[in-house]
């Protein structure tokens, strides 16, 4: 346990020291949030109606782009090799890194997003369902992003290729997350359950896939 905890601590420290962890991600989130209304037209009612979708899409993109280099630095400076040699299973290493990414970036975004919804005058009664759905969904988003990051490790243009590979996997999260947060006012909906199922599944499967990909790059 200690090794993985120290790994998480290190990643969290790095996230805050270099490029300011949640800060940057939040910045990106806001930047896109400004852009979208300009592009889609400032019409109040349209915006209000589209608000949840806009927030979800922005969340997806922020998480994806904040994770695209999650393994790259460890790969380039040789840390990953040493971790792979150690007695810690690489799957757990991936999980630890994914979780620290979630803590440092996705979770703060997921919590902030619904309240930033006021910028799009989001209907206030949606805020809580949205919050719940996003917190759940962000787990899956972080983990899936890790799979993409491991597949495109150190490819120039990785940043884009990862999107092509990962965004398709994001579609279910988006669909069910959206319906969970807009479908109805009561909190626990079928979609929410499916969402949690997706989150759990990715908790198990993503580390396996990512670890396999990393091994391929190390060999």
């Amino acid at each position: 346990m200690r090794p993985l905890l120290s790994l998480m601590r290190r990643d969290l420290t790095l996230a805050t020291r270099q490029g300011g962890g949640a800060g940057t991600a939040l910045g990106f989130f806001l930047a896109v949030l400004v852009l979208l209304p300009i592009g889609l037209g400032p019409d109040q009612f349209t915006l209000q109606r589209l608000a949840p979708g806009i927030l979800w899409i922005t969340l997806l993109l922020s998480v994806l782009l904040s994770a695209d280099r999650i393994f790259q630095q460890d790969y380039e400076d040789g840390s990953l090799e040493i971790m792979a040699m150690s007695s810690q299973p690489l799957e757990l290493v991936v999980l630890a890194k994914a979780l620290s990414h979630w803590l440092s970036t996705s979770l703060p975004l997921a919590i902030a997003a619904p309240f930033l919804g006021v910028l799009l005058n989001l209907a206030t009664e949606i805020i809580w369902p949205l919050l719940l759905a996003m917190v759940l969904g962000s787990v899956a988003l972080s983990l899936i992003a890790c799979v993409g990051a491991s597949l495109t490790l150190n490819l120039r243009r990785g940043g884009l290729l990862i999107s092509v590979l990962v965004l398709p996997l994001y579609v279910p999260v988006l669909v069910f997350g959206l319906s969970a947060s807009t479908g109805s006012v009561e909190l626990v909906t079928p979609s929410l359950l499916i969402l949690s199922a997706i989150a759990l599944a990715s908790l198990v499967l993503a580390p396996l896939a990512a670890a396999a990909a990393l091994r391929a790059y190390l060999k």
Binding site: R2, L7, D77, I82, A84, L218, K219
Partner: protein
């Protein structure tokens, strides 16, 4: 404890780096790998560290710690320094200590006298200072097997002396060293494996 390789071949990027290699190193012995660029020294070290694929042949560890793999009992010092530039020297050692299960930070700093640099962010270190940080891992966590890829590169005279001391000490304590190098390391190799590359 003994590492035995039997007609080992390695293919990299579709080309045969080396083929039908046989060697054996026992505890307390130092095997030195030499040979022209591209002969396969680094590749061989990676294979032993289980970071490379064997095309044919096999490599085994006899009566080592049975419930650990060969790689898990080894230190591997490659060209990359495995240090985070945003962390200080101590923080880096702290992390590797926790991760690899060792805590001799003071000893590690001392072993390549990094004490004065302890609190510097690695971003501010010079090439050789970074190299010394990488080598400090050797004393941070005790491991029986050391795999060193051109360990003396970038070290000043003083540090080279320290490295020699470390290696001697490790050998006397029954450790095992396999090191690739182009310059004499200052430690008499017990065995010398010369890889003939064609290019």
């Amino acid at each position: 404890m003994q590492i035995v390789a039997a007609n080992l071949s390695c293919e990299r990027g579709g080309r045969l780096a080396f083929s039908n290699l046989d060697f054996a190193v026992a505890a307390g012995e130092f095997l030195q790998l030499t040979g022209p660029n591209g002969a396969g020294k680094s590749s061989l070290l990676r294979i032993i560290a289980n970071l490379g694929d064997i095309s044919s042949g096999h490599i085994e560890l006899h009566n080592g710690d049975s419930d650990l793999t060969l790689a898990q009992q080894s230190h591997y010092i490659a060209h990359a320094d495995a240090a985070k530039t945003a962390l200080t020297v101590t923080e880096n050692l702290q992390f590797w200590g926790d991760f690899l299960g060792g805590d001799n930070i003071a000893g590690a700093l001392g072993s390549l006298n990094l004490q004065t640099l302890a609190d510097y962010p690695v971003a501010l270190l010079s090439a050789g200072q970074k190299r010394r940080l990488a080598l400090a891992r050797l004393s941070l966590v005790p491991r029986k097997i050391w795999l060193l890829d051109e360990p003396s590169v970038g070290l000043d005279e003083a540090s080279q002396g320290l490295l020699v001391g470390l290696m001697q000490q490790h050998l006397n304590a029954g450790g095992l060293i396999i090191a690739a190098t182009h310059v004499p390391l200052g430690v008499e190799p017990d065995r010398n494996l010369i890889l003939q590359g064609k290019s």
